[in-house]
Structure formats: structure tokens, C-alpha cells
């Protein structure tokens, strides 16, 4: 059986750009959540977002021109370039046909959609810049990455909303195991936009002052953005070139609640967790850390906790939500979770849930790794991703033996 290693990380996030900065951000419990600046928030009763405020795509990208691409594509391509550098790939020894790209997203080029709407309001279809039509398709996210890397293998964009990165990572893993690819760049990207903020706000899901997952008094999530990318590499090739892997990709599972478009379902998630453990060949007792979906909404966190309790038979390892620091980066979110999990395994620490103060009696047993990271060996980490449409996907990572 072919094994798959994670040999490079490329986070473009509000708490750090690049693996080292992101790791320091996680360890320090930095908060990237601020009042939104990328659109006019006049009239919105809540205004927090997790924007990547200092993002200069041109300083990171080597091949593509940032102005040719939308913000989400830029996030994806910049994250991929960082991940490629981090992996130290020797491009001259790699067949570009064997390098594939699989990117997850919720809203694709959400800012292009926003501009489309704004121009439509201003002057009807005649008033809309024709270039918007070219920029709107969501498959451009993976195309931007393939073009930036000069990767000639398959290039796919998976649009399963907020678990899309985990779907992408799972498919990336299968591409290597089935012999279709040697190296796959996989993760996700999304951009903060006016209409998604409005939508979550109208659902009553947006946090008032802080995002405090698993806290009794949590008030909701915060929309956020960024690009998350991991390099998955066929183990024997990674070993042959002397790469130092962060972690091994052990397996994944996905399923669908098929009950409600927005309300998560604990028993379905529990099924997904058990299936992920089974395909990864791990037992519940092997899991040392759960990187939660943990949006900070009352409904998600209690449902996720119930599912964990059920799947782990009550003996749940420490669970944290990095969304307490980043906000909810949508399609990039489970990619960031996978990066955090890989770092947890490689460096031996548990990322914290910040902004946490009061246990929720509905999950009093839960250890959210409150406010400060914890030094601890992590052999196996579980990365949860749930989404609108009931699209659950869970990725299991382990120490590279």
C-alpha cells in the first residue's frame, strides 16, 4: 500500500503567512479577528471578520500575475507557492505531469460575485464589466494554482462549502494511492465578502464581540478568509529526496446528513468520525488531538461535542477550535485545520481555543485546550470539517514513522 506524507505547508492567514509565522500565531494564541475593512459595513449590526489584512500576492507569486486573478485564486496560488517552498521540492527532478492540484472552496470568487451585484444594481447587465464573466468561474482557483506551479497533472476545484478542503485532501490522497500522481497540492481558499457576512448574520450565526467556540456564552462565528495549502507526496519519493515530513496522511471519510441544509446532525457526524478512524486504521484511544470544526455557533459546537462523545465512547481527547483565532475561513477552514494538525504532530503541541472562559454544562467533559497552547506529543490527530448541505468530511493525520 502506497503511503502519503505531508511535506510542505502554505498558510496565508490572518494570524500569519507561511508555516513558521502560522505556527507562532497558533502557539501564541493570536487573534486575527478585527472589524471588517474590505467592504463598507455601514448599517450592519455586527462587523467582525477575519481578514488577511497584509496580503501582497505579488511578493509571493512567481509565475502568475495577481491582477489576472480574483482574490480567492490569489490566496490559493500564494498558499501553494509557500507550500512548495516549504516542501523544498526539487522541481527539476519532478515530472510536472505527475503533480496535481485539488482545491476546496465555499464561494469561489466571492468578491467577483459581490462586484457583479454592485454593478448590476448600478446600471443593469449593460453596466457590468465583461471581465467579471471571465473571473467568476470557481474552477479558476485550482487553475491559478496549477498555472503558478506549472503543474500539468489534473487540476480540480471541489465546492462542498465549508468542508471542501477536507474533501480536497481526501481526493488528493486517493490520487497518490491509486498511482495517478506523485505530488498533490491540496487545500482551500475563500474571501471575506459582504453577502456571506449578511447571510450568516441573518441566520443569527455571527458573533457579537468575540468568537468563543465551546464556551457556554458563545454567540456565533465570524466570516474569515485565506488560503490553506498542503503538499502531499508519495512517501517513497519524499524519503528518497530526504524530505522531512510533518505528518503522514492516514485516511479520511465523508458522508452526508441528508436531513437539513444548515443544521448539523450529531449521529451522522459520529458515523463519519468512526468511518474515518476505520479507513485510517486507528482506534479511538490512538487519537491525541481533535482539530474541531468549532465554528462558535451554539448549534455547531454542541452538536460536534455530542458527535465526538458518541464516536469516542465518552473518552474524547483534547479538542480545540482554531476558528477562535482565524474566524471561519469557509472553504479554506479544514485546510487550516489540517495544517494545524500537521504542526501539532510535527512539533508536539496542541493549538488552543482562545477567548474561552466558561465551561458549557452541555459539554462539561470537553477539554478545549483553553487560551494557551499545550506541549504534548501527538501521534494521531483528527481534523473535522462540516458544511451546509450536510457535507461532512474528516481527515486523519499521524506521526510520520
Amino acid at each position: 500500500m502506497t503511503r502519503v506524507l505531508i511535506t510542505g505547508l502554505g498558510p496565508v492567514s490572518s494570524i500569519g503567512i507561511g508555516a513558521a509565522a502560522f505556527e507562532s500565531g497558533l502557539r501564541a494564541g493570536h487573534c486575527g479577528i478585527r472589524p471588517i475593512g474590505s467592504f463598507d459595513t455601514t448599517g450592519f449590526p455586527r462587523v467582525l471578520g477575519g481578514e488577511v489584512q497584509v496580503f501582497d500576492a505579488g511578493s509571493i507569486l512567481s509565475r502568475i500575475e495577481p491582477e489576472e486573478w480574483g482574490r480567492s485564486s490569489q490566496f490559493a496560488a500564494a498558499a501553494a507557492r509557500l507550500a512548495a517552498r516549504d516542501a523544498g521540492l526539487q522541481w527539476e527532478r519532478i515530472d510536472p505531469e505527475r503533480v496535481s492540484v485539488v482545491i476546496g472552496t465555499t464561494s469561489g470568487e466571492a468578491k467577483v460575485t459581490e462586484m457583479f451585484a454592485q454593478q448590476l444594481v448600478g446600471g443593469g447587465f449593460e453596466g457590468v464589466d465583461p471581465d467579471i464573466a471571465r473571473r467568476l468561474p470557481a474552477d479558476r482557483l485550482s487553475s491559478a494554482v496549477s498555472a503558478e506551479l506549472d503543474a500539468h497533472g489534473e487540476s480540480m476545484t471541489i465546492a462542498t462549502a465549508c468542508s471542501a478542503s477536507n474533501y480536497a485532501l481526501g481526493y488528493a490522497y486517493d490520487l497518490i494511492v491509486s498511482g495517478e500522481a506523485d505530488v498533490v497540492f491540496s487545500g482551500g481558499a475563500d474571501s471575506v465578502c459582504r453577502w456571506a457576512h449578511a447571510g450568516f448574520l441573518r441566520l443569527g450565526a455571527v458573533a457579537e464581540r468575540t468568537c468563543s467556540p465551546f464556551d457556554r456564552d458563545r454567540t456565533g462565528m465570524v466570516t474569515a478568509e485565506g488560503g490553506s495549502m498542503l503538499v502531499l507526496e508519495k512517501a517513497e519519493l519524499a524519503r528518497a529526496r530526504g524530505a522531512v515530513p510533518y505528518a503522514e496522511f492516514l485516511g479520511y471519510a465523508s458522508n452526508c446528513d441528508a436531513t437539513h441544509m444548515v443544521m448539523p446532525n450529531a449521529s451522522s457526524i459520529a458515523d463519519c468520525i468512526s468511518a474515518a478512524h476505520e479507513t485510517a486504521g486507528v482506534k479511538t484511544g490512538d487519537v491525541d488531538y481533535v482539530c474541531a470544526h468549532g465554528t462558535g455557533t451554539p448549534a455547531n459546537d454542541v452538536t460536534e461535542a455530542q458527535a465526538l462523545y458518541e464516536a469516542f465512547g465518552g473518552d474524547v481527547p483534547p479538542v480545540s477550535s482554531i476558528k477562535s483565532m482565524l474566524g471561519h475561513t469557509m472553504g479554506a477552514a479544514s485546510g487550516f485545520g489540517a495544517i494545524a494538525s500537521a504542526l501539532a504532530i510535527a512539533r508536539g503541541f496542541l493549538p488552543p481555543t482562545i477567548g474561552w472562559s466558561t465551561p458549557d454544562p452541555e459539554m462539561a467533559w470537553l477539554d478545549p485546550i483553553p487560551n494557551r497552547h499545550r506541549q504534548a506529543p501527538v501521534r494521531v490527530a483528527q481534523n473535522n470539517g462540516f458544511a451546509f448541505g450536510g457535507n461532512n468530511a474528516i481527515v486523519m493525520l499521524g506521526a510520520a514513522s
Binding site: R202, L203, G204, H260, M261, V262, M263, A299
Partner: protein, 84 residues
Amino acid sequence: MTNVEDRKTELRELVAEVLEIEPDELTDHGDFVEDYDGDSLRAIELLARIERKYKIEIPQQELATMRDFDAVYAVTAGYAGWRS
């Protein structure tokens, strides 16, 4: 002037639309969740449509009481300043 019955008819149509039933299936005291398969998303949807139609704002806390047609009418009338 719009009278109470006209307003109730209009509001009943709006609530029925959200619950995906015919207006005459909606009784004054039938529980949205128990009797008409309502859920939290439909509750927020109802609130949003009422706010938009009558140009009013109703705090989300009111959702807890808006469980049947009578209660919805009372809350809406209160915020819209309708005299009954």
C-alpha cells in the same frame, strides 16, 4: 383602512408560505414545529419576511414566543403598532 381580518389574512398567507402549507391548513394555535414541521431556519425566515414586508425590526429573542399563528400576529402587531 386595513382591518384586523385583512391583516390576519395577509399574515396567514405569509406564514403558510414559509411553512409550505396552504393558508387554510394553518390554525391559530397549531404549533409550527410540532404540527407543521417547522424548524429554526424557517422561524428565522418567517421573522425576516415579516420584517421586510412591514418595514419593522423584531429582535430575534421574540422567536421563542412566535410558535403559533396567534403569537406571530400578536408580536407583529406589537412592533408594527397595529391597533387591534
